[in-house]
C-alpha cells in the first residue's frame, strides 16, 4: 500500500509543470550554494520585481499561443498604457488633468482597444497574427514616441495609488502579488471554465472546434484583448515602480521574454496546449538565471554567453525529465 504522501507526490509528478518546477528549484539551489548574497531577502524581492511584468505578459501570451495566435505588439502596449494614463492625469496643457483612476481606466481601455484591433484584423480580415501584431508593434511605437515627443515623464499618482500598484504590501512588491493573483485566476480559467476548454479546442483543432460549434473568432479576439490588457496593466505598475514613463519601455524585449517563458513552461507555439503555471515557472527560471548570474558578477561580455548556455542546459534537462516522467504514466508512445 502506497502512502498518501507518495500519492500526492505522484499526482504532482504527473502534472505537466513538474519538470520545469524541478529545474527552477535546481537553479535556485545552485545559486544559493554559489553565493550567500543570492539567498537573501533583498534578492528574493529583486527576483519578484523582475518577474512581475514578464509574468503578467506571459499569462496573456500563453492564452494566445494556446488558441494558435501570438501578440508581438504587447510590449508596446506595455508602454502605451502608462502614457495614456499620464496624458489623462497631467495638468493642462500637457494632459487633461483628470484624476489618476480615470487615467488607469483610460489606459486599460486603450490597451483593450489595441487587443480588439489585433483580434478583428486577424480573425475577420484573415491576416496572420504575426503580421497583424508586427504592424501594430510599429504603429504603437510611433504613437508612443509622438505622444511624449520621444522624451520621458514622471509617473503620476498619489500615495494611495503607489501603494496599490507600486508598494510593498506583505514584504514583496504589490506588482508581484497582482501577477501571482492573475496567474492563479487564469490557471483556473484555463482548466476549470468553458473559456479555457474552448481556447484549447480552438488551438488544438481549429476546424474541429468550429464543427463542434465553438465560436473560434470570439475565443481568439477575447484572448487578444486579454493579452493586451495584461500588458497594459503590467505597464502601469512597472512605470509606477521605476517612477518614470518612457516611450521605448518594454518593446520587443519584454514580449520576447514572455513568449520564451511561455514556451519554456511547456506551451506549444503550434497551439492546443500549454499552462499558465508553466509560463509562470518559465518566468521564474529566466529571472533566477538573470539575477543569479548578475549576483555572481558575470561581466558584461560574458553575460549573454553564459545565459545562452544556461537556457539551453535548463531546457534540455527539463525535456529529459519529462521523458523519464512519461515512461511512468500513460505516455505518447514514441
Amino acid at each position: 500500500m502506497r502512502g498518501l504522501g507518495w500519492r500526492a507526490l505522484e499526482a504532482f509528478g504527473n502534472r505537466r509543470e513538474a519538470s520545469i518546477f524541478v529545474v527552477a528549484v535546481g537553479l535556485i539551489i545552485y545559486f544559493s550554494l554559489r553565493s550567500s548574497a543570492f539567498y537573501s531577502s533583498a534578492t528574493i524581492k529583486n527576483i519578484a520585481e523582475y518577474m512581475a511584468p514578464i509574468a503578467l505578459i506571459a499569462c496573456g501570451e500563453v492564452m494566445l499561443l494556446i488558441c494558435g495566435e501570438i501578440d508581438l505588439s504587447v510590449g508596446r502596449v506595455f508602454a502605451l498604457t502608462p502614457i495614456i494614463m499620464y496624458l489623462t492625469t497631467a495638468p493642462e496643457p500637457d494632459g487633461l488633468g483628470l484624476p489618476i483612476w480615470l487615467g488607469v481606466i483610460f489606459g486599460l481601455l486603450a490597451a483593450a482597444a489595441v487587443g480588439l484591433a489585433n483580434g478583428v484584423i486577424t480573425t475577420y480580415l484573415g491576416v496572420p497574427s504575426f503580421i497583424t501584431t508586427l504592424g501594430m508593434l510599429f504603429f504603437l511605437n510611433g504613437i508612443n514616441l509622438r505622444a511624449l515627443h520621444g522624451f520621458q515623464v514622471e509617473t503620476p499618482g498619489g500615495s494611495t495609488f503607489r501603494k496599490i500598484f507600486g508598494g510593498y504590501p506583505l514584504w514583496l512588491n504589490s506588482e508581484f502579488w497582482w501577477a501571482l493573483a492573475i496567474v492563479i485566476v487564469l490557471q483556473i480559467v484555463l482548466v476549470w471554465t468553458r473559456w479555457g476548454v474552448h481556447t484549447v479546442a480552438t488551438g488544438g483543432n481549429p476546424i474541429g472546434a468550429r464543427e463542434s460549434g465553438v465560436n473560434v473568432r470570439r475565443v481568439k479576439i477575447g484572448n487578444f484583448v486579454l493579452c493586451s490588457m495584461l500588458g497594459g496593466f503590467a505597464g502601469i505598475m512597472d512605470s509606477t515602480r521605476i517612477t518614470s514613463i518612457l516611450p521605448l519601455q518594454g518593446g520587443t524585449d519584454i514580449m520576447f521574454l514572455a513568449v520564451a517563458a511561455a514556451v519554456i513552461g511547456g506551451t506549444s507555439l503550434m497551439g492546443g496546449s500549454g499552462t499558465i503555471i508553466g509560463g509562470f515557472l518559465g518566468v521564474l527560471v529566466l529571472a533566477v538565471l538573470n539575477i543569479g548570474f548578475t549576483i555572481l558578477g558575470v561581466s558584461a561580455f560574458n553575460f549573454d554567453l553564459i545565459i545562452g548556455i544556461a537556457i539551453l542546459g535548463a531546457m534540455i534537462l527539463n525535456v529529459q525529465i519529462q521523458r523519464l516522467k512519461n515512461l511512468g504514466q500513460i505516455g505518447r508512445g514514441r
Partner: protein, 325 residues
C-alpha cells in the same frame, strides 16, 4: 510629410540673407528614437526656423550601421542639400560620404566621429566625442574614489552609442594608475530589468566603492539603488549620463554624485547653422570642428534642471526663455 522642420516660409530671404531655396538637411542618426537626441532635434528645428530650412531625422533605431548607410544613400538619391551623420563606425561611412561630396552635398559629422587619421572626408565634426566624454567621467571617478571595486553598468554591451563611453572611462581609470578595479556589467535593454540587475549586482558585491552607468536607464537604476540602500552613507559614489527626471531628483536629494549632460541641443543646432553657412557661401565658409562640451550636473547645479522643463533638455516641447534667477 516631414518631421519637425518648418519655420516661416517667407518669400524673401531670412534676416539680411538673400532669398534661398528651402534647403533640406538630412540628419542620419544611429538611435533615432533615443531620448538623448530629442533636444538635438529641437536644436535642428530652431535653427531651421531661423534660416528657413527643413530637415529629416532618419537612420537606425539601434545602431545598425547597414541601415544608416542605406539611409545616407537614400538621402543622396532623394536630393538632400546637406547631410549630418553620426560616424559611429570608423570605416563604413567613407563610401557614402565620398559619394555625397562628389554629388555636391556637404557632409558634417555630429555626436560621433571617426578616429583621427581615418580617411573619411567629412567636412567637420560637431559634438562631444563619446569616448572623450567617457574619459571625463573616468577622471571624475578617479577623483571620487581612491581605490577599490567599481562597477560600470551598460545596457547593451557593444552598442555604438554607449560602449565608447564606458571604454573611455576605463581608459582614464587605467591611465590614472590608481588601484581601481573597474568591471563592466550588462543590465539589459529595458529599464525595468536594468533596475533589478543593478540591485542584484550590488547584492553580490557589497564591497563596491562606486557604481557608474553610461546609459540613461542604467543611470536612473544606479540612482534608485543608491537611494534604496542609502549607499552614500556607506561612502559609495555613483554617477552616470543623461537627464531622466528621476536621476535629477535623486541627484538633488544627494543620492547620486553626478550625471553628465552632453548638451545634445547644440549637437543639432550648430550642424544646421554650419550647413547653412556652407551652402549660402558656396562652400567658402568651410564648416569648423566644434566641441559642444559636456556638463557635470551635480547637487550644486541641478536646481535649474529640476524647476524648469525646457526644450534645451528635451523635457518640454514648447519654446521658452529661461530667465536666470
Amino acid at each position: 510629410a516631414c518631421g519637425g522642420g518648418g519655420g516661416n516660409s517667407s518669400s524673401s530671404g531670412v534676416g539680411n540673407y538673400p532669398e534661398t531655396p528651402k534647403w533640406k538637411w538630412v540628419f542620419v542618426n544611429h538611435v533615432t528614437t533615443n531620448p538623448f537626441f530629442v533636444p538635438t532635434q529641437y536644436g535642428i528645428e530652431d535653427a531651421g526656423a531661423i534660416f528657413n530650412t527643413q530637415h529629416q531625422w532618419t537612420g537606425s533605431e539601434n545602431s545598425d550601421v547597414g541601415q544608416m548607410v542605406s539611409a545616407m544613400n537614400t538621402a543622396i538619391s532623394s536630393g538632400a542639400d546637406g547631410i549630418a551623420v553620426c560616424l559611429i563606425d570608423a570605416k563604413a561611412f567613407n563610401e557614402p560620404t565620398k559619394k555625397a561630396l562628389d554629388a555636391g552635398i556637404p557632409v558634417i559629422a555630429y555626436n560621433a566621429d571617426v578616429p583621427p587619421g581615418t580617411p573619411n572626408e567629412r567636412l567637420a565634426y560637431i559634438g562631444q566625442d563619446l569616448f572623450v566624454s567617457g574619459q571625463k567621467m573616468g577622471e571624475r571617478i578617479v577623483e571620487l574614489i581612491p581605490s577599490g571595486d567599481v562597477a560600470g553598468f551598460i545596457a547593451t554591451p557593444g552598442s555604438l552609442n554607449i560602449q565608447p563611453r564606458i571604454d573611455g572611462a576605463k581608459q582614464a581609470i587605467k591611465d590614472s594608475g590608481k588601484p581601481i578595479n573597474f568591471t563592466q556589467v550588462a543590465t539589459g535593454a529595458d529599464t525595468a530589468g536594468e533596475l533589478s540587475k543593478i540591485d542584484a549586482y550590488y547584492q553580490g558585491h557589497k564591497n563596491l566603492k562606486g557604481m557608474f552607468a553610461v546609459d540613461a536607464g542604467s543611470t536612473q537604476g544606479v540612482a534608485q539603488v543608491m537611494q534604496k540602500y542609502n549607499l552614500p552613507s556607506k561612502g559609495i559614489h555613483g554617477g552616470g549620463y543623461d537627464l531622466l527626471p528621476t536621476t535629477l531628483n535623486l541627484i538633488n536629494k544627494g543620492f547620486l554624485d553626478f550625471t553628465i549632460d552632453q548638451q545634445p541641443y547644440q549637437q543639432g543646432f550648430y550642424p544646421a547653422i554650419q550647413l547653412f553657412l556652407y551652402k549660402i557661401s558656396g562652400g567658402l565658409m568651410a564648416p569648423s570642428d566644434t566641441n559642444t562640451g559636456l556638463l557635470f550636473v551635480t547637487k550644486d547645479n541641478v536646481k535649474p534642471y529640476l524647476n524648469t522643463k525646457t526644450r534645451y533638455e528635451g523635457s518640454a516641447s514648447s519654446q521658452q526663455y529661461v530667465k536666470t534667477t
